[in-house]
């Protein structure tokens, strides 16, 4: 098994699936000769040509909307929006078309499409190259939302997403595109959408996170290990549907939980997780569920480091629930 980073894994997974299924095609800005601005589609244009690897005009509405039409027609488009921040010119196509065609047609039409996008801060990208808008997708009935944090999960979930018969938003942690490497099986495999991963079992506190926030969480977990604090670490991976069962099981057993996500604080995805926890297993809580999040400011260029949930902020929150 080759050790591989996330972005290379994406390109290889797309290639593998395109070989198997000729209805899969890739579209987006610069996905052709350029191989994508992050090289996530590198090599595909040369291999599959302009009919299956389509450089689009500079319009996210065209990308997303055309993907809906292609999918309804019978293709399996994998569309790319270069940055999650740029999904908004195509947002209507996502929420009014992609998310709703199966429901509103009573199942006659559906949109087996994947919408890939790089997300997350910490890359000196300022307002428009750093955001994590997953809450907006998750709150839109009809969309599935994945946000893996490792190469292996990326492969398994991307494969599942491509084969899924519903529109799937596939968010990619851009600052970890090249920094995280692991061995990734060469053969084709799927990870079930909707299942969390218990990265590490533990008894003192449950740490819940996903996607681009996982790097800081892993750093914090390492320090906690040195402090002999036993952490149960859950990587949600899938945000819609999300694995409430796994979360409630861990939290009910441990009684203390810290939730981490770098998106803005108010209505951060982890607010939903927190609300479900207190609604369903209030009595097993030994301490308040604490959220460690980004801030309610537009993403600030100058404060790239400070905006993100730092290991230090995570540690403080853990200490707080332990001391409670």
């Amino acid at each position: 098994m080759p050790r591989q980073n996330i972005v290379k894994t994406i390109a290889k997974t797309l290639d593998q699936q395109m070989e198997i299924d000729s209805s899969i095609l890739v579209l987006g800005q610069d996905v052709g000769k350029r191989g994508g601005v992050f090289l996530a589609t590198e090599g595909l244009f040369d291999k599959y040509g302009p009919d299956r690897v389509i450089d689009t005009p500079l319009s996210e509405a065209a990308i997303i909307g055309a993907a809906v039409g292609m999918a309804a027609y019978g293709m399996r488009p994998v569309a790319e929006v270069q940055f999650a921040d740029y999904v908004f010119p195509g947002f209507d196509q996502l929420v009014s078309q992609a998310a709703k065609i199966r429901y509103r047609s009573g199942g006659q039409f559906f949109a087996p499409m994947v919408l890939r996008m790089s997300a997350g801060g910490g890359v000196k990208g300022g307002h428009h190259h750093s955001q994590n808008p997953e809450s907006l997708f998750v709150h839109t009935p009809g969309l599935k939302v994945l946000y893996p944090s490792t190469p292996k999960d990326t492969k398994g979930l991307l494969t599942a997403a491509i084969r899924d018969d519903d529109p799937v938003i596939f968010m990619e942690p851009k600052r970890m595109y090249r920094s995280v490497k692991e061995e990734v099986p060469e053969e084709d495999f799927e990870i079930e959408i909707g299942k969390a991963k218990i990265v590490q079992a533990g008894d003192d506190v449950v740490l819940i996170s996903y996607g681009s926030s996982m790097d800081k969480v892993l750093e914090a977990t390492k320090i906690l290990r040195e402090q002999a604090i036993s952490v149960e670490l859950i990587d949600l991976r899938s945000l819609m549907p999300w694995d409430k069962e796994a979360v409630l099981k861990s939290v009910a057993r441990v009684g203390r939980v810290v939730l981490v996500s770098e998106a803005p604080r108010t209505l951060n995805f982890v607010s939903e997780v927190s609300a479900c926890i207190s609604e369903e297993i209030l009595d097993s809580l030994l301490a308040p569920p604490i959220r460690v999040t980004g801030f309610d400011t537009p993403y600030p260029y100058a404060y790239d480091k400070e905006y993100l949930p730092s290991p230090n902020r995570i540690l403080k929150a853990v200490q707080k629930v332990l001391d409670y």
Partner: protein, 366 residues
């Protein structure tokens, strides 16, 4: 048809006509439609008109919560329907396509079931009335959001181009729709890809109350084709023959891989925008009456009468027949009652995730 028959003028200053207001054939090529076809054109327009009126009645009876009056749009819509190769081509319609919908071959019972929101609606009563769909006829599920179907139509056309099986895509909208960013996004992509698609604008001069001159400074919407490197045609949308021949030509061209086109059909809507609309706030009765004089059914009657294909008496009989068909369709559509609550959580996704099963349980227990 392509090239060898008639050269429709691209970007014409005046609307293209093949039939004068008094029903004379104006073109310098020979009409090649059979009497049967010509009578069918008229019959379908009449059906569309009566269907529209019936929707009005159903609304007044409180049976239908909404509909989009289409009277005045019939020539355009039936011409489009007749040029489409149903089941082979793909169609992305909009809410005002009542006559087009009928002429497509969607069973009238299905149309009524959708309007009434009954159990027999193939779309399971999930949408407001006047939002058609038909998987069988490749008719995409209409949405309320203006122009939001245009990029999807472009996508289907690009897919059709890739698959290369000689399918064309047709999409319709009002002229207001052309102002939306999504319209631009879709038509521009289709243009850049040379996809087999015809964009049809039924320009009735009004987007609810907003007159065309506040909508755009382009003299007419066919001119917008310049922006997308495709031909633009400006048609008298009350001339069913002009609309039909041009559509036929453009769809053949599209199927043959000769690329997209944009067509404006100039029409008028006699009714209010919807039953909730009070159109006398923004236009006069005189304006409506003046347009009614150019009625496409009237013009076709004159055209047919000259050929001894139409009499007042036959017309009355046809109307009676159509009303009976409508009565029957309504009865059939209502036979099995309304859509049941059990369907509410289906089709959000292919399968129901845990949270939807939970919510369904919560609701059904309530």
């Amino acid at each position: 048809m392509i090239k060898d028959k008639y050269n429709f003028e691209v970007f014409s200053k005046k609307p293209i006509k093949l039939m004068s207001d008094s029903g004379e054939w104006l073109a310098d090529f020979e009409l090649d439609l059979s009497d049967k076809q010509l009578k069918e054109f008229y019959y379908d327009m009449l059906f569309g008109r009566l269907l529209d009126e019936r929707f009005g009645q159903l609304h007044r009876l409180g049976k239908v919560s909404f509909y989009a009056p289409s009277s005045g749009h019939e020539a355009a819509q039936i011409a489009i329907a007749k040029a489409i190769d149903w089941g082979n081509d793909w169609v992305f319609p909009y809410y005002r396509d009542n006559a087009l919908l009928y002429s497509s071959g969607v069973p009238i019972k299905d149309i009524m079931a959708q309007m009434l929101g009954t159990r027999l609606d193939p779309a399971k009563a999930r949408q407001m009335p006047s939002h058609p769909s038909s998987k069988k006829l490749n008719m995409f599920t209409a949405a309320s959001g203006i122009a939001s179907h245009i990029p999807a139509a472009a996508g289907a056309a690009i897919a059709a181009k890739i698959r290369n099986k000689g399918e064309a895509v047709i999409t319709t909208s009002g002229e207001g729709a052309t102002s939306e960013g999504d319209y631009h996004a879709g038509i521009n992509f289709a243009g850049a890809q040379g996809a087999p698609i015809v964009f049809i604008v039924q320009n009735n001069g009004l987007a609810i109350s907003v007159p065309y001159h506040k909508q755009s400074a382009a003299e007419n919407t066919s001119l917008k084709a310049h922006a997308y490197g495709m031909p633009g045609y400006y048609l008298d949308g009350m001339d069913i023959l002009a609309c039909y021949y041009l559509m036929k030509d453009l769809l053949e061209r599209a199927r043959a891989g000769l690329g997209p086109a944009l067509v404006e059909m100039k029409v008028y809507r006699y009714g209010p925008h919807s039953p909730a609309d009070d159109d006398m706030r923004y236009r006069s009765k005189e304006e409506v009456d003046a347009w009614r004089k150019k009625d496409p059914l009237l013009r076709m009657q004159k055209f047919l009468a000259k050929r001894k294909l139409w009499t007042k008496k036959q017309d009355i009989k046809m109307r009676e027949e159509i009303e009976l068909i409508l009565d029957k369709a309504i009865n059939e559509a209502e036979a099995e009652g309304f859509a049941p609550l059990e369907w509410m959580f289906d089709d959000v996704f292919k399968d129901k995730p845990a949270h939807l099963l939970e919510q369904q349980k919560m609701l059904l227990e309530d």
